[in-house]
């Protein structure tokens, strides 16, 4: 293993990465974070001199899709870069150590890097039955989470599970799973939602935190603005078809073949904040809309409970049967129309009889 206090640069040089590649990485990462060339040199300086930040990566109730995404990061490449850039001291899914040996690392990091390490959390904690539904290493996950968060510098919530609860917190939420900000209330939390989040977004956030030793700028939901300040729809390459009024109306129609906008097929791009339409997936190869399917809004809070993936707005279930907003409006309109028509008829009768009465009086 490497010495903990080595800088990132020392580590990768030892692995045979050239200085040229290192600088290239700095510029690429700076660009992907939307920062200028001046920042690239600042980043290079930081990575050359600062000891690597220890990261503890915990897994709660989750499906490991965040890890799967993370290890596919292309810029920076996870193998060469991130695993040496940070000092990933504990990650029970991909670490070599196991059992007591592994769990010891947690205590060791807690003591040695008190207040300095970053706690990255994938998945969330079920609170039902005293946390019995997630029980890694013989303790309820919620205990492990609280104890590791206590001495951390900051907490990263990876993915929709940790950020918003995701599927395990979807109705009826039998295990009472809650996003981690419901458990940890006294530490800065940064949310990186998505099911999973985009690999480059994950590594980008980590790089930023390492380089500048602070959290990136966050929005009101605590998501980093550099990746979550725009909706899929704002940068979607099918947007010209949206503006033109050209929509896919059926999955197998002419419009679908021509790559028209998926709005009418329930694309949730207009209501989803994420970087898919700019960063894309798998080294920029594609993203769902490019493959012909609408966005399902996986990075939005409660996306499992917002009705069909194929309707743009949530159906309203309060009336027993599922209705969309327009059906309810039309229903109200019909009832109202009938009531008003009846009312108008009675009014007319009254008007006529009043006139007659008046005439009779006048006579």
């Amino acid at each position: 293993m490497f010495d903990h206090d080595d800088s990132f640069y020392q580590v990768i040089r030892r692995q045979g990465v050239s200085r040229r590649s290192f600088l290239k990485f700095c510029s690429l990462t700076a660009a992907s974070l939307g920062l200028g060339p001046m920042v690239a040199s600042k980043m290079a300086y930081a990575l050359e001199t600062k000891p690597r930040i220890p990261v503890i990566w915990l897994h709660g109730l989750e499906c490991t899709c965040c890890s799967e995404s993370f290890i596919r990061s292309a810029h920076p490449l996870v193998k060469d870069v991130v695993l040496s850039m940070i000092s990933l001291d504990y990650d029970d899914t991909i670490m070599a150590a196991a059992g007591y040996q592994a769990e010891e690392i947690l205590e060791e990091t807690k003591a040695r890097y008190k207040g300095r390490y970053i706690l990255a959390v994938e998945g969330n904690s079920p609170l039902g039955n005293d946390g019995m539904y997630c029980f890694p290493g013989g303790v309820p996950f919620v205990e492990k989470l609280k104890s590791m968060a206590a001495d951390a510098q900051a907490v990263i919530a990876w993915g929709s599970c940790a950020s918003n609860g995701c599927i395990q917190a979807a109705k009826p939420n039998p295990t009472q799973a809650v996003p981690i900000h419901k458990v940890i209330t006294d530490k800065p939390i940064i949310k990186v939602p998505g099911c999973p989040p985009i690999a480059e977004v994950m590594t980008g956030v980590l790089t930023y935190m390492l380089t500048f030793e602070r959290l990136p700028e966050l929005d009101s939901q605590r998501r980093p603005k550099m990746f979550y300040s725009q909706r899929i729809h704002d940068k979607c390459y099918r947007r010209p078809h949206f503006d033109a009024g050209q929509y896919v109306e059926h999955w197998d129609d002419e419009g679908a073949r021509k790559g028209y906008c998926l709005y009418k097929m329930g694309c949730k791009g207009p209501t989803t904040y994420n970087a898919c339409s700019t960063v894309r997936w798998n080294d920029g190869v594609s993203f769902p809309i490019q493959s012909g399917h609408g966005c399902i809004g996986c990075s939005e809070e409660g996306f499992w409970d917002r009705g069909s993936f194929y309707s743009r707005l949530t159906d309203i279930t309060q009336f027993g049967i599922e209705k969309n907003a327009d059906e309810i409006g039309a229903g109200a309109g019909v009832v109202l129309g009938a009531a008003v028509a009846a009312h108008a008829a009675v009014s007319a009768v009254k008007q006529v009889s009043d006139k007659k009465n008046k005439k009779n009086k006048d006579l």
């Binding site: 929005d219 009101s220 939901q221 603005k225 300040s229 725009q230 909706r231 704002d234 010209p240 078809h241 949206f242 503006d243 033109a244 009024g245 050209q246 929509y247 109306e249 419009g255 028209y260 709005y263 009418k264 949730k268 207009p270 209501t271 989803t272 904040y273 809004g297 939005e300 809070e301 409660g302 917002r306 743009r312 707005l313 949530t314 907003a325 327009d326 309810i328 409006g329 109200a332 309109g333 109202l336 129309g337 008003v340 009312h343 108008a344 009675v346 009014s347 009254k350 008007q351 009043d354």
Partner: protein, 241 residues
């Protein structure tokens, strides 16, 4: 004196004129102008808003040559701005205009007398009263609906509308500065769209009832209505109190 817009106040206002069958100048020009600008903007907003939610069938041809949804959205946003500026003008007029210009912005909720007339008016609508009362301004039930159903929905639509607008305009826009908190309050952009969309139906119900009530009352009440909102003069059909 604070006004409660009740029928005895109307009688007093009428009595203060020498001739009993007076026509009173109720809605000043800016109020009338606002009414029709507002009505037009809302009709346009409802139409274009509906088409944003359920777009027209697809257009053939190159995307570079057509801009159908773009134009519909542009019309929606322009009408939204006109609606908002008109409301600000109307608010200003409520400060400098006559007493009836303020009726839309205050409800005499603490006046028992006013409430009893709301009830009376309700009975009149339900055919339980034979003879309606006279009102110089809006009758109490109309007044209640104007504020609770129209003004509230209007403010709600402007708030949610600009909040939606801020999502496209970005974090450094004034729309985000002024209305961004509404996105946060709604919790999620999809819910915000849904709320704004439901507002369409709320507004539609108001317009429907309002136009029906205006026509019906024009015929059946003891004062004219439709010409009042056109030329400002309220005329009464009889001399009885």
């Amino acid at each position: 004196m604070t006004l409660n817009y009740t029928s005895d106040e109307s009688a007093r206002e009428l009595r203060s004129r020498a001739i009993a069958r007076a026509s009173i100048y109720v809605f000043e020009a800016p109020v009338r102008l606002w009414h029709w600008v507002n009505a037009l903007a809302i009709v346009v907003l409802m139409g274009s808003g509906y088409l944003i939610g359920s777009p027209l069938p697809s257009m053939p041809g190159e995307a570079s040559a057509i801009f159908t949804t773009g134009i519909i959205r542009f019309v929606h946003f322009s009408a939204g701005y006109i609606l908002t500026v008109a409301l600000l003008g109307r608010l200003y007029w409520a400060v400098v205009g006559n007493v009836h210009s303020r009726q839309l912005f205050r409800l005499p909720l603490t006046s028992l007398r006013w409430w009893s007339e709301v009830l009376f008016e309700l009975k009149w609508y339900l055919f339980l009263e034979r003879v309606p009362k006279k009102y110089v301004g809006h009758n109490p039930l109309a007044h209640l609906m104007m504020v609770s159903m129209f003004l509230t929905t209007l403010v709600f639509m402007i708030g949610t509308g600009f909040a939606l607008y801020s999502e496209g305009a970005g974090y450094d826009s004034w729309q985000h500065l002024l209305f961004g908190w509404i996105v946060t309050l709604a919790g999620n952009s999809e819910r915000l769209h849904l709320l704004h969309h439901l507002g369409l139906w709320m507004m539609g119900i108001f317009v429907f009832l309002h136009v029906y009530a205006a026509i019906r009352e024009d015929i059946m009440s003891r004062q004219n209505l439709i010409s009042t909102i056109i030329n400002g003069e309220r005329a009464f059909k009889d001399d009885e109190p």
